[in-house]
Subunit: 113 residues, 2 copies
DNA sequence: GTCAAACTTTGATGCTCATCGACCTTTGAG
DNA sequence: CTCAAAGGTCGATGAGCATCAAAGTTTGAC
């Protein structure tokens, strides 16, 4: 079988996405910022293009959490790992949840710790 | 001054409710269960009437987190502390968020750890 | 083949939080 | 006043998680 790309980790199927995992993913401000940047851009973004306040190894961790929760989809283009927001999958499984988080994310300024 | 009841702790005003706090509150399955039971009942419930899998002192902690996040409102009736779901406040501040969590809570079975 | 770019992996660390048992407080009934 | 009911408070404990630096891996260009 022609495996697409051995570097691409597992994504949950739409029906495997759980509310618990999505909430755990979106409760972190860094991860919510990733989702918001992806939403605002309207196009796929590589991991390195995000504006994030953490080290790259930490960012990798956050992308993994989002992917395993089913919030983003990842695929490789060369050495760049691209990221897509799985808005349709989330909206059909938990209607209103993603929009509520994203809308609040853009209208409400981040709470500075 | 006729203070309403010295035992009643602080509640955030509607505009003080933050997405971060609400998500932190609803990410815990026990707290989400409290919100869901309150929603299903359609009426206020005292702390002792909830069906919760934790000790009483732990439940007290969870009620406090929900109250400080603005998810529930609490008031005393005798020795009983009653709880109200602040659905209107949440819906006007983060439209769709509460419904998304509650709907998924009732249709999706709890993930047993 | 060589090299840099772009991520990932691997510990290690530190902090937050859910949990509990034991004890204290307030209220209302008798 | 006395008591039981309903909760709250107080440490203590343990697990999970976000964070980082350092080293490893994979790819594409030259």
């Amino acid at each position: 079988m022609s495996r697409p790309d051995a570097r691409i980790p597992e994504h949950p199927e739409p029906h495997e996405i759980t509310l618990q995992a999505v909430l755990e993913a979106l409760v972190d401000p860094v991860r919510r910022s990733i989702a918001a940047q992806l939403h605002r851009a309207g196009e796929d973004i590589s991991c390195g293009k995000f504006d994030l306040p953490v080290a790259r190894s930490t960012a990798t961790h956050h992308f993994g959490v989002l992917r395993e929760a089913g919030v983003i989809r990842q695929y490789y283009v060369g050495t760049s790992r691209m990221n897509t927001l799985r808005a349709d999958d989330l909206n059909s499984r938990f209607p209103g949840l993603l929009d509520a988080c994203l809308q609040a994310e853009t209208t409400t300024p981040d709470p500075e710790p």
